[in-house]
Subunit: 676 residues, 2 copies
């Protein structure tokens, strides 16, 4: 809190009052898949009752209810838009992300069960399997006739999947793989669909052929019979009640260590590696690490989807909290009629709590759309180069981390902004908090994901970057000149370009630019990114030069690596939003008022981001204390400017009213009537 | 993230390795009421099963279970230690806070129901009533024979209680009060014990006598008959499922607007005001606002208790997360044996996530102890002056805000630090998150509470400060010279004193002091506080001078007021911890190792607090960028120093193992055994 001074009277020559056209803004947010989004928005109210069932049903009944809804959604076609048409899918990956993102406005157990069945289980068969697997399974998966599991995580290994313990040993005598769980901690854990509905699992296991280890591979393993009972040699345990998502039947799976669980050779998902009948291992990718990360890379849609769901959940929370702030009055302040209390959203602090988060949610929405388009292009073969694929993986990891942290933060603040009412389950905050909580750690722990992003930045996505473990990465970077690292990131070059575009040309761009110039915002975000990456490289190098153990060196710079990665993703998010806003300025379908509103939102997002990290910018000579205070003042001004359109801005999210649940929280009080 | 450089090799002449004696540290934490704490810690495992019942029982059954446990706790004497001995209580307010704080290590529905019955309901009868009420109710309340409600909050008015709508109109003809709920929104809401178990309520209502309004007063109103059914004219509704605390039966209460609910004149809790039989209102306190806040002030124990519970919940979360970090290994880093993965807590980032929060929890513990002692002194008549009482109210409000936000923050971070395992209900995070969530908004919304603290700071607790509404406060402050405000806060004088004690004497204390000098830490916290208060005063004055509407002026400086209040409470917290650590240095029962460890914890708390707000210190000329970077480096160093004793530091919290629930999460993995 800088003691800047927004208490002077408003400037009559100040910026014009804002207004927006809600349908126009919704159309901008909906983007290229507006039709799909509309379809899902129309579908969702049909199942709005699930939100209540989550509270009232016992766990068993709720799991069945959620399964039934998932099957109905499958029937509607909304769940499998990304699968090839010949198997009943929609053949459109971009559409499938848009559909999933929109489904996330509703009950999240339903969403996650859709994700488990169609994204994880179906996605693994589609991406890691070949024609024979597609023909055998995909139609049944798309229709929901075959429910399945994605059995990767183990009790002992979540983040470090490469080290998991389950084994698949090829037995050439019978042309079968023997699946075993060698230790209790190698049991598959937290597996959706495992506790109850899954008949088949894609199991990730260490492949051993003729006594040789080939790393982690995926196989199709039946786990339940037609009677719903575990097959012989398969032990299944329920994960029990969870913080949230209790409509999803997570469980544990162990395969008999004595080796009684066997699957035919053909069950190996063999897109990237195969075993011949007589037991010869073949793969076009030599490094087992790189092979594994190539496999994982094909499953990137999961991360894109979780991030999208996080943003949708934040939109629901903001819709409720902003509408509440626009009808709830508390304390008389003398600004309104005599005896009238003030609206919550007319308090400066309330604006400060909600509006920068609203702006950031718009920004993350843009970032998710850019990411989804990128995913679509790579997986539809529009772009085929390896670099584009690696950038996609990095972008998906980083965006997932920021989107899911956004959800946690926004939901918490919105819930607190609704006071006691926010605590009742009849509003959506209880379920939103509990259900989204796991988003920050599943499909990759956020810190581990940012570490991955950082590794990619430091090594310029060297062809084998994901294969480098932490030691390898430290040694790799230590072997480079720091300048090389900076050069490699290419941020440097981009930064030079932007500097040319800014006033001051040379070194004074950061003091001469207008605070509301998007080029200034982007330049600041880029400067931070570049500087942090170079700093990490320097520290890694220095540590190794001082003969420290690389593991210890890494441990010490780890928070710096994460900061660099975060700065990188923040820059991508800002650029996505700036680009979307710029596109709207060119779009004849967008009216002038809506353009101005988008500009203000983008400014608020960018400046509140700089404000939050202004210590760093000051420490690194890119922000004077005077300018820092001016930014704080400007953020307050932008909040006040945006306040009158806050309701419209959440209305543009187009969350179906039926999904908001809490009528009393969001509709104006109806006066002094009493029902005795 | 500053790119400071802790990657140089460790200094062999650096500070000595730390160790602590756990029982000694527990004794320090336990303080003067060690015996009570021990008694409750021994009691709690008896009811550990409630933690599981919260998941497995349906709501009705769980409410009954919780009620039964509360009655058993009442029998043990642990619930009513603050009541006079003649009614079966313990006659020791300090002990009652210590008992409540320790109960908070267990199930929080049990805790909150204890709080509703003994703290809120019983406390209101004790503090607002007189002998006749004490004799009539207290024995039954203490024993649990009479369960009751504290019916203050209404649907329409939570934070602004002075404006609530329920009325109590004196009818001199019958010598009765008529209790009515004039509008639907004036219904009492979120009232614990209302939905099911409460027979009687202390109802807060606008008192009207002979056509004249006298503001909010409290009356004893029976709401249920012996058959458990609402009495005629009383309508009760269940608040339904909540995010957490589902063992507490919250509900809504309306009193027939036609006026059929009547209570005898004697039911007015008449310690501060009374009505004679023939309808004359009398009170020793003239201002109705001041009278109301005097009443509220007597209920301050509730806020102290909630804050204490927040700190206890944070301790439980830290105990689980730190122990998990000490047994969970993930990724090989080359620092250990070949093939051995690294412990989570050996990662720099993991230390950064958990250890400053651990230090802050110790600091908040100290602050709560100082607050509890202050409460004890005021309510046991040890100190009787008005100022001490006002300072207590302010301190209780501010500490409650910081303690409950600490809980929200620590629990979230600890849960994320336990990955997927943290999401299962078998660990405690699900319940901890859900149950503590409401702490930030009940017993006063945290932001509203900090506003109250800010108001007190600005007006130097002017005798009628709490009676000043926002407009009044703005006008009051605007009428003062800014220097007067600063002078009045007395922070200025204290600050001068500390400056004299620091090297540099005059203006260079902030650059010449050692980073680990507690006087430096306190001086920094004080400087921030003083500067923020003066800044608010200046802005209020300027706004009023510019002829802005005082409500608008307040709205604009509101975040600044909150920041000033927060800085004030942060300073109190730091001083409490510094004092506790200093006392340990003098205490012959404390060994040298434990002293050193406490010093390091206090340094970590103080410096990570400065680090988090270093932007502000730089903006206000009290921190160079070089020194800011040095602080960041020092925080990292302190984390590494404290890492080896992290397990002991959480063990010293002495959370009974039975209450941690998650054996797999916190005990070392048991090797390669398998249960087939």
């Amino acid at each position: 809190m800088a003691d800047t001074d927004p208490t002077t009277a408003p400037d009559p020559t100040g910026p014009p009052a804002l207004s927006v056209d809600v349908p126009t803004l919704t159309a901008i947010l909906d983007g290229p898949h507006a039709e799909v989004r509309r379809m899902v928005r129309e579908l969702l109210p049909t199942y709005a009752g699930v939100l209540e069932d989550a509270e009232t049903m016992d766990r068993d009944a709720f799991r069945e209810r959620v399964k039934d809804v998932v099957l109905e959604i499958a029937d509607s076609g909304a769940a499998a838009m990304g699968f090839p048409q010949e198997y009943g899918g929609g053949g459109d990956i971009g559409a499938s992300i848009a559909a999933f993102e929109t489904l996330a406005l509703g009950d999240l157990s339903v969403l996650v069960k859709v994700g488990v069945q169609f994204g994880l289980f179906g996605g693994a068969i589609l991406q890691l399997g070949t024609q024979r697997h597609h023909d055998a399974y995909l139609s049944d998966i798309v229709s929901g006739r075959l429910l399945g599991c994605f059995a990767m995580t183990e009790t002992g290994h979540g983040s470090n999947v490469q080290a998991l313990g389950t084994t698949a040993t090829y037995d050439a005598a019978t042309a079968e793989f023997v699946i075993t769980t060698p230790t209790e901690a190698a049991g598959k854990d937290y597996i959706g669909n495992a506790a109850r509905h899954g008949r088949t699992a894609v199991v990730f296991a260490q492949l051993e052929v003729a006594g040789e280890q080939h790393g982690v591979h995926a196989l199709v393993v039946p786990i339940r019979g037609d009677d719903g009972q575990p097959l012989p040699g398969v032990r299944i345990e329920d994960d029990g009640p969870k913080m949230g998502l209790n409509g999803v039947d997570n469980g544990r799976i162990w395969f008999d260590p004595a080796g009684t669980v066997r699957v035919p050779r053909e069950n190996l998902l063999n897109r990237f590696a195969d075993v011949t009948e007589d037991g010869v291992y073949t793969s076009e990718i030599e490094s087992s690490g790189r092979r594994f990360f190539t496999m994982l890379g094909t499953l990137v849609q999961g991360r894109v989807s979780v991030g999208a769901a996080g943003v949708s959940a934040a939109k629901v929370a903001l819709t409720i909290a902003v509408r509440y702030g626009l009808q709830r009055r508390q304390f008389e302040t003398g600004t309104g009629e005599e005896g009238e209390e003030q609206l919550l959203l007319d308090y400066g602090l309330h604006q400060r709590r909600l509006l920068p988060r609203l702006a950031r949610t718009y920004a993350m929405h843009s970032a998710q759309q850019v990411l989804a388009a990128h995913l679509h292009d790579v997986f539809s073969g529009v772009t085929t180069d390896e670099e584009s694929r690696r950038l996609l993986e990095s972008r998906a990891a980083g965006t997932k981390a920021l989107s899911t942290w956004l959800a946690t933060d926004v939901i918490q603040e919105c819930r607190e902004a609704c006071g006691g009412a926010g605590y009742l389950s009849v509003n959506r905050f209880a379920a939103l908090k509990a259900d989204t909580d796991v988003f920050t750690t599943f499909e990759g722990d956020n810190h581990v994901l940012l570490q991955l992003v950082g590794k990619g930045l430091l090594t310029d996505y060297a062809s084998d970057f994901s294969d480098l473990d932490q030691l390898g990465m430290v040694r790799f970077v230590a072997g480079l000149a720091v300048e090389t690292v900076v050069e490699r990131t290419r941020v440097h070059k981009l930064f030079e370009q932007i500097r040319d575009a800014l006033p001051g040309g040379g070194d004074s761009w950061d003091t001469d630019s207008g605070l509301l110039d998007p080029s200034y915002h982007v330049a600041m975000y880029r400067f931070r990114e570049e500087h942090l990456i170079a700093g990490v490289a320097r520290r890694l190098k220095r540590g190794v030069d001082a003969d420290m153990n690389p593991g210890e060196v890494f441990s010490r710079v780890q928070d710096h690596v994460i900061a660099a990665a975060r700065a990188h993703v923040e820059r991508l998010v800002l650029e996505a939003f700036v680009d979307q806003v710029a596109a709207a300025q060119q779009d004849p379908a967008v009216d002038e008022d809506t353009r101005l509103a988008l500009n203000a939102l983008c400014d608020l997002h960018a400046l509140s981001g700089i404000e939050a990290d202004r210590a760093w910018f000051m420490e690194h000579g890119r922000l004077t204390t005077q300018r820092a205070k001016a930014i704080t003042r400007e953020v307050g001004d932008l909040c006040r400017r945006i306040r009158p359109i806050a309701g419209d801005l959440v209305d543009a999210f187009a969350v179906p009213t039926e999904l908001l649940r809490a009528p009393a929280l969001i509709t104006p009080e109806t006066g002094p009537e009493i029902v005795a």
